[in-house]
């Protein structure tokens, strides 16, 4: 009896796998057959097969299974344990990202008329935004589809956990609506405006080109919509984000809204246990994420400075006013942190604190040693290009997603994302969020640490009876979900005494 059910289950799973792979294979056909690359029916068939296959696979994977933690065999499966399959997928994904960022013409992108894969997506692109497809449209479509389909799978997997369900519906909603449909449709209805980012939630510094000269100009020349995006973009950075991070921690963004987080939490879920929990890696994380933070700040300040230099008429303030404003703001921030939060400056927060200091020095250097076109003796164009190449492409794309099956699903978020660094500093110092440890109930099993995608050694805190307040925690809630003894709870509460370390965990009358 059991074996019949098992047979049906594996039959269903394998059918799903075959259909999905068939749909994926159809995406390669346009490379070999130019005629097929213009077939709308081909595209519909391919995307439908991928959808059907993934849903079928997920359904049979969890159908008839009692609701609960589903981590059986994670370390026996090559895909999720850096086995052969894992390396193969990593290689394939990395290859795709390299083509996407550096050789889009290999994918068929051509401004004069697409071929191959990019041409394959022309009909959908024309439908949504009125233009021929670009490699970014192809990427965006597949990215969104991956979040939606693996989101369904994730919800199925965690159907007993309402936090996970709601959170996943949220990332699916923001990806489909804010990141994909709304920007495409806004382009469709505003065909005459120049390009600027229309994803409201993709704020600076995650969107590193927000303050670049061409982008600022395009927004300023983009009519009401452009000005709206400019003002709301700034409001997101200075008002919306600090308020929400204070109330709920950085999870409001990183695991509920952000597109990078959305992919990590859905398609990346099978790889979360691959993040390293070593203390040495944590040290590296502090260095790398703050290096990126300083770099993105200085690059941004530099491009605004050079924008103000060359376009004095487009702004109501001068570049000197700008520099003074930035320095004054950052000094105030440092002062406030020093006065009120000195005691909370653990290593993570201390590195952020020092980073702010470096940014101030860097900003003053820009003012002192830069000309109209040269920032610190480097062309400002070169500076932004480096950032776009090094951080935007190599780090967030190739390493960030390509290496999911090798380093876990949050490589970018953990080691590179400047947005995560800023939100993290606030989460550490001024937020109501914490993961509460339930008295003395921890049995040090290690499931929480193992399944933390950010590489936080959650157990190290839980077994001491200490709450977890870490800059890097994105609040995905999986540690709490996989805890077999009900020890961890994500919650918002009083800002004070979030991190008290008891002499002994609860249970002993000492």
């Amino acid at each position: 009896m059991a074996s019949t059910a098992q047979f049906n289950q594996s039959l269903g799973k394998n059918s799903g796998l075959v259909l999905g792979l068939l749909g994926l294979a159809l995406l390669f056909f346009p490379f070999f057959n130019e005629e097929f690359s213009h077939s709308s029916l081909g595209l519909i068939t391919s995307l439908s097969l991928i959808t059907l296959g993934t849903l079928l696979y997920s359904d049979f994977l969890y159908r008839g299974q009692p609701a609960g933690v589903k981590n059986n065999g994670v370390w026996f499966d090559g895909l999720s344990s850096r086995g052969l399959l894992g390396w193969f997928v990593a290689l394939a994904l990395t290859g795709f990202y390299i083509a996407l960022y550096f050789y889009p013409e290999r994918l068929g992108y051509n401004a004069q008329g697409n071929t191959a894969l990019v041409a394959f997506f022309d009909p959908l692109s024309k439908l949504l935004n009125g233009n021929a497809a670009t490699q970014w449209f192809v990427y965006g479509t597949l990215y969104t589809l991956a979040i939606l389909l693996f989101g369904v799978k994730f919800i199925y997997k965690y159907r007993h956990n309402r936090y996970q369900i709601i959170r996943t519906v949220s990332v699916m909603f923001f990806q489909l609506g804010f990141a994909f449909l709304i920007p495409e449709l806004l382009s469709l209805f505003n065909p005459e405006t120049p390009y600027f980012a229309k994803d409201l939630k993709n704020m600076w510094p995650l969107n590193y080109y927000f303050f670049e000269s061409w982008h600022l100009k395009n927004m300023l020349n983009g009519g009401n919509l452009g000005r709206f995006m400019l003002f709301s973009g700034i409001a997101m950075i200075f008002i919306v984000s600090p308020v929400l991070t204070y109330l709920y921690g950085k999870r409001w963004y990183c695991s509920w809204v952000c597109g990078c987080g959305a992919l990590a939490e859905t398609a990346g879920d099978p790889f979360r246990q691959l993040s390293s929990k070593k203390i040495s890696v944590w040290k590296f994380e502090r260095w790398s994420i703050h290096a990126v933070l300083v770099f993105v700040f200085l690059t941004t300040i530099a491009v605004i400075w050079s924008f103000l230099s060359s376009n004095p008429n487009l702004s109501s303030f001068s570049r000197e006013t700008f520099v003074i404003g930035v320095v004054a703001f950052l000094l105030l921030l440092m002062g406030l942190i020093y006065v009120y939060k000195r005691k909370d400056l653990d290593k993570d927060a201390l590195y952020s604190f020092i980073s702010i200091g470096l940014i101030i020095i860097g900003t003053l250097s820009i003012q002192a040693f830069s000309g109209e076109k040269h920032i610190l003796f480097i062309k400002s164009y070169t500076l932004t290009k480096w950032y776009g190449f090094g951080i935007g492409a190599a780090f967030s794309g190739v390493l960030g997603v390509g290496f999911y099956p090798l380093l876990g699903s949050r490589v970018w978020c953990r080691f590179g994302c400047p947005m995560a660094a800023i939100l993290g500093l606030q989460q550490r110092l001024l937020s109501r969020f914490r993961i509460t440890t339930n008295g003395g109930q921890c049995i040090s099993c290690g499931n929480c640490s193992a399944y933390c995608e950010m590489g936080i050694d959650v157990r190290a805190y839980a077994q001491k009876g200490q709450n977890i307040v870490r800059s890097s925690c994105v609040g995905c809630g999986i540690c709490s979900a996989v805890c077999p003894r009900g020890v961890l709870k994500l919650e918002n509460g009083s800002v004070n005494q979030r991190t008290n370390l008891p002499e002994f965990p609860l249970g002993n009358s000492l």
Binding site: R162, G439, R485, L490, E491
Partner: protein, 432 residues
């Protein structure tokens, strides 16, 4: 020459906690000796390695450099005897090590009740790293398994084997699962859950003998119902007892475990015992002399660390608490909850009629003082119950304020109102 160290025999939670807490308070040399493993690991999580949730290194709560950094020496060795007069221990290779103080934290070993066939190949308990390795090596040959003993390790072993596609029969001698601790109602709920997970559960059924083939492999078990169940593996999980066989014949006072006073000291000077292997001469009321659970090992380690660093401290556990997980149902308990009601203890049980969820409060029927709680499927806040128990809170107060103790993840359905309504209905109360 450096002074002799404090030697701790056993690197489980008791011995390790002692070493860590002692190092925080003192610079004395510390040596931990283990027969079982190079490094401390979480014994309670052995199952997750077998099921593929965790890799072995994820079972180790401290990185390997931790021990050196904290100047805690580790030694993999077996000890054969204690020479109390010379303050030395003897290792199985004949080597002698001098100690300043000696702490026995040797844990437990599975019970074996002299069943016929218990020495056959394919028959084992699950307690040590070696047990797990033996089971893992055996697994490719196991199609059917029988588990004997209806307690916590039994149900974990059932889940483990089942996760690897093995057909599992689970023999429980008692009428209900774990009926020495939980009520028949709670037991039935767990039993239903066990069956839903595809386990062939047989309650009120005992093992009579294990049959073997001519090569000495287990091939079947015979139950007291006369049934013969073919299998390649038999898991013996009928509880544990202190792992102290190697101490028999020493000068130590031993009953079931190593007898210790309130300060966890044995009858021998400078020799202490903590954790599963220790038996309290005078346990507190409502507490047992041997409590073989993780938390007690940890707390004894903490207490002894104070004593050995010069602050003599009696072992004073606070209110009892424990936790477990039965397949997908989490269990937590705080305070005193007997399996069934008795003279000094009344019970109020609430059960979610559709879901596998229940709560049972115990209280004094005369004074209405809250005594304890069992919860299945709802997470509860340890701190809140510790406080209610310390405050000797009234049962009505606890039920009225129960929401404060909820520890489920955000957005989960709350049941406090249903629980309050049921309590009010049962006691004809208008208001709490």
């Amino acid at each position: 020459m450096s002074p002799p160290p404090i030697i701790i025999i056993g690197n489980g939670i008791a011995g390790t906690t002692l070493a860590r807490q002692l190092r925080k308070r003192s610079q004395q040399p510390i040596l931990i000796i283990s027969k079982e493993s190079d490094y401390f690991f979480s014994r309670t999580a052995l199952m997750y390695v077998y099921m593929g949730h965790l890799s072995w290194d994820q079972l180790e709560p401290y990185e390997q450099g931790f021990w050196k950094k904290n100047k805690i020496d580790l030694l993999r060795a077996e000890i054969t005897s204690i020479q109390q007069n010379e303050k030395t221990i003897v290792l199985s290779n004949g080597e002698r090590l001098a100690y300043d103080r000696l702490v026995l934290a040797t844990g437990s070993t599975p019970n074996r009740f002299g069943w016929k066939g218990q020495e056959l190949k394919g028959v084992q308990g699950l307690y040590t790293k070696q047990d797990l390795e033996q089971l893992e090596a055996m697994t490719p040959r196991i199609k059917r398994a029988v588990i004997v003993g209806g307690g916590l390790i039994g149900i974990e072993l059932a889940e483990m084997l089942h996760s690897r596609g093995i057909e599992v029969t689970f023999l429980v001698r008692e009428k209900n699962f774990w009926n020495t601790v939980i009520s028949a109602t709670e037991g039935s709920m767990i039993e239903q859950h066990i069956v839903e997970h595809g386990i062939n559960l047989k309650t009120s059924t005992s093992l009579v003998e294990i049959c073997g083939d001519e090569e000495g492999n287990a091939v079947a078990v015979v139950t007291d119902k006369g049934e013969k169940i073919p299998c390649e593996f038999v898991g013996l999980t009928a509880g544990v007892r202190p792992n102290i066989d190697f101490l028999k014949g020493s000068d130590l006072n031993i009953n079931r475990g190593i007898l210790v006073d309130d300060f966890l000291q044995t009858n021998l000077t400078d020799v202490y015992a903590i954790g599963d292997c220790a038996e309290l001469r005078q346990p507190k009321s409502n507490r047992r002399a041997i409590e073989a659970v993780w938390y007690v090992g940890r707390m004894m380690g903490e207490t002894l660390a104070l004593t050995l660093s010069g602050k003599k401290t009696a072992y004073q556990p606070s209110h009892w608490f424990n936790s477990a997980k039965f397949f997908d149902i989490e269990y937590q308990t705080y305070g005193v909850v007997a399996p069934e009601e008795h003279e000094n203890e009344a019970h109020f049980t609430w059960q979610d009629p559709t879901k596998l969820r229940s709560v049972r409060f115990s209280y004094n029927p005369e004074t209405e003082r809250f005594l304890g709680i069992n919860s299945f499927g709802i997470r509860l806040r340890h701190e809140r119950f510790e406080k209610w128990l310390n405050d000797k809170a009234n049962i009505n107060t606890v039920i009225k304020q129960l929401k404060e103790a909820n520890f489920d993840p955000e957005f989960y359905t709350h049941y406090e109102q249903n629980i309050q309504n049921a309590w009010q209905a049962q006691h004809n109360l208008i208001n709490l």
